[in-house]
């Protein structure tokens, strides 16, 4: 007999994310992923000036603000055939790399590490042994016995006070935690270091985008003027600061994040065989080096993989009517032309129609509609998006930079390439692409400096900014690779106004409900066969879902709308 457990909210992407899982003999037999809130930015955008859309979509989500704005200006530029100057491309790329560095480090330490690192156990570590261990895996200077002993005292006091605060919802002491106390202490210390570090790297967004959060973007380029000698513009001093931030970020990733990731992974190699899921991967590609339209020159190449076969990378065309389509068989929407069809986003509709049970309820009606997320498919296939997809596509295409980092990690951990198709593989891929973007960020920066020194300070092409220059009707698609996966916006401009605007976000690919044929999406598929040793503390579910980096933090602080303390987990009879 199976038991259904509910984890809600597991995170709050597009509102809340809820997981219902049926457990039999200690393993997940069936799983359902549901987005329980809706925002409908699409309706807000209708009838507005396309040049303003980036500012609205930047609000779609707190973590991804900058990347949605980038996607938005790209789709408008695509529709109106605007080509941005090389400097604007470089600045956008530098901001993109900075966001990856920030996002991936914060995800690893603050959203995911505590699924592997037992904070309370870290208090039992021997600081001297911890120091020796830390020095054996990294050159990072903060690694003395005194440093680790201080951290231990600080957190010990915190724990003793009974106010665990940020650590209050962990499953501390769970038997699935396998790290020695010393590794736990290193993880905890770097959790705190990463908190302080992360506020530095985002300054790059404030410098180029004028402010952070919600930096400024501009259709046609970037709004930041460069003049090496002018104090009110991006000058030599600010550029030097950007270079320093990128270098410091690279050091942190190489000397802290990666050594920690590898040390932790080495104790959890069994997770290289858990949580694989679909085996289908989708990447739109990003980091253009010769304009958005030349996808062959992207640093992150696009492509699709089916059935874990990395030897064959399929081309992806976001403009084709029969490639990316959204279905609503199990989603609380209705389509004017019938609910069974799939719609390409240029023809997309976003009419909500809730038909689920009246809250409060125990179960969703998972045989009917059960989510506010639509179900996107690529040529009918369910696809996983995100770091693992990107790393596999780059690797499958034989790109040297990808092969180098992947082969080294596999060798260091002594695991076969098949270990990548897993929860551990997802978490490792995020680290590997962080090292790539840290290096690329510096490369873009050096190119930007070289351009400026050669006298090119152009930052925007405003020749088509005036709506009078636009065609009566225009369609565009802007895609990017958000840190958590492929993201695209499709726009339909009629008479200078937005007639339709559709976003398909990475977590929709990963967290959507089943399709019309009953096929699962990535979260649901990845949970099948995941072991759950204690139904009241489903740490293993969190590991797999968090490995995808659900868009919003699975904040471990959970509360329901009535303010009652909620149990994140409810165990229900079959």
């Amino acid at each position: 007999m199976s038991k259904r457990i509910v984890v809600d909210p597991i995170t709050r992407i597009e509102g809340h994310l809820r997981i219902e899982a049926d457990i039999e003999n200690g393993k997940i037999k069936d799983a359902f992923s549901s987005g329980t809130m809706v925002r409908l930015l699409e309706e807000i955008l209708q009838g507005r000036d396309p040049r303003d859309a980036w500012a609205f979509v930047g609000r779609v989500c707190g973590v991804c603000t900058s990347i949605h704005s980038l996607t938005s200006v790209r789709c408008v530029e695509d529709a109106l055939d605007i080509k941005i100057p090389p400097n604007a491309e470089l600045v956008r790329n530098i901001m993109f790399c900075a966001q990856y560095m920030h996002d991936h480090v914060v995800h690893f330490y603050h959203l995911h590490a505590m699924d592997w690192v037992d904070v309370v156990n870290a208090l039992k570590a021997d600081p001297k042994k911890t120091s020796e261990l830390a020095q054996s895996i990294s050159h990072w200077p903060k690694s003395s016995t005194g440093y680790f002993s201080d951290i231990q005292k600080r957190i010990g006091k915190f724990v003793a006070s009974g106010q665990l605060g940020i650590f209050s919802n962990g499953y501390w002491g769970h038997k699935a935690y396998k790290l020695p106390a010393e590794v736990n202490l290193i993880g905890l210390a770097h959790y705190l270091e990463a908190l302080e570090w992360q506020k530095e790297i985002v300054k790059i967004h404030a410098i180029f985008g004028g402010k952070n959060p919600h930096p400024n973007y501009l259709v046609g380029g970037m709004a930041c003027a460069i003049n090496l000698d002018d104090v009110s513009m991006i000058n030599a001093e600010r550029l030097a600061y950007v270079g320093q931030l990128l270098q410091d970020g690279k050091d942190f990733i190489e000397q802290v994040y990666i050594p920690d990731l590898m040390a932790i992974a080495s104790f959890y190699k069994d997770w290289g065989a858990i949580g694989g899921g679909l085996g289908n991967y989708l990447v739109y590609g990003d980091l253009p080096t010769n304009g958005y339209r030349d996808s062959s020159a992207y640093k992150f190449p696009g492509g699709a993989i089916l059935n874990k076969d990395v030897s064959k990378i399929y081309e992806v065309d976001l403009r084709k009517d029969d490639e990316v389509q959204e279905f609503i068989t199990h989603s609380w929407y209705e389509y004017a032309g019938g609910n069974d069809q799939g719609l390409h986003p240029w023809k997309g509709e976003s009419k909500v129609k809730y038909s689920g049970p009246k809250p409060p309820f125990d179960h969703l009606e998972t045989d009917k509609k059960y989510s506010y997320l639509k179900t996107p498919r690529w040529k009918g296939n369910a696809m996983e998006v995100g770091p693992l997809a990107r790393v596999l596509v780059g690797y499958g295409l034989g790109r040297e930079d990808f092969k180098e980092v992947v082969d080294k990690a596999l060798k260091d951990l002594n695991v076969p390439i098949t270990a990548l198709f897993s929860t551990l593989g997802r978490t490792a891929a995020r680290g590997l692409e962080s090292t790539l973007t840290a290096q690329w960020g510096l490369d873009f920066y050096n190119q930007l400096l070289a351009n400026i020194k050669a006298g090119d300070t152009r930052m925007a092409d405003m020749s088509k900014f005036d709506p009078a220059t636009w065609p009566k009707s225009a369609f565009g698609v802007g895609h990017t690779e958000a840190p958590r996966g492929a993201l695209a916006h499709w726009i339909n401009i009629q008479d200078q106004k937005i007639a339709n605007y559709q976003l398909v976000v990475p977590t929709t690919w990963n967290a959507s409900p089943r399709d019309s044929k009953g096929g699962m999406s990535a979260y649901e598929a990845a949970l099948i066969d995941t072991p759950v040793s204690d139904e009241t503390q489903p740490l293993e579910i969190l590991r797999t879902i968090h490995s995808f980096d659900p868009c919003m933090a699975c904040s471990v602080h959970l509360y329901d709308e009535e303010g009652k303390t909620i149990n994140r987990v409810s165990v229900l009879g079959d």
């Binding site: 605060g165 940020i166 908190l195 992360q198 506020k199 959060p213 904040s555 709308e561």
Partner: protein, 153 residues
């Protein structure tokens, strides 16, 4: 979006008003970790956010959160939200003085970007209250080098 964006509306209005030197206004977006630095460099932070606490829409409460558990339920749809930020500041030992205005709203499911009349009507009241708090904080005048901030969320 909608009433949930009360903070953004208050921030926009405050940006157009004359405030004492040393007081800055920030639209903090959804209040993630990237705001950490502001909480470290400012001595006093005044926050405005929406909450779904079941009170009559438009109810304004002022609370002084010291721990994440002091926050009201269902602050707007944040990722790593203010609660996590406050917890982080606490574990880092860097908590500034925080005043939090919470405004009860009816729903976060509404569409659109404008405030409903019930919520729009309390914006002037919040602004007055913020002005009072700023005026009462003598450190703003006695220690002009330390900036104070009104972070809006």
């Amino acid at each position: 979006m909608g009433d949930e964006g009360i903070g953004v509306h208050v921030a926009k209005q405050l940006e157009n008003e004359l405030l004492p030197a040393g007081v800055d206004v920030l639209d903090g977006g959804t209040g993630g970790f990237y705001l950490l630095e502001y909480f470290e460099i400012y001595k006093h932070v005044i926050l405005v956010d929406a909450t779904l606490d079941g009170n009559t829409p438009g109810t304004i409460r002022l609370i002084k959160p010291r721990f994440a558990s002091d926050f009201p339920p269902a602050m707007s749809t944040h990722d790593i939200g203010l609660k996590d930020l406050v917890s982080a500041l606490q574990v880092l030992g860097k908590m500034p003085e925080i005043d939090l205005f919470v405004v009860s709203i009816h729903s976060i499911q509404q569409q659109g970007i404008e405030l409903t009349p019930a919520i729009a009507g309390v914006v002037p009241d919040i602004i007055n209250k913020i002005r009072c708090l700023v005026a009462l904080d003598e450190s703003i005048f006695t220690e002009p080098t330390i900036e104070n901030m009104i972070a809006i969320d």
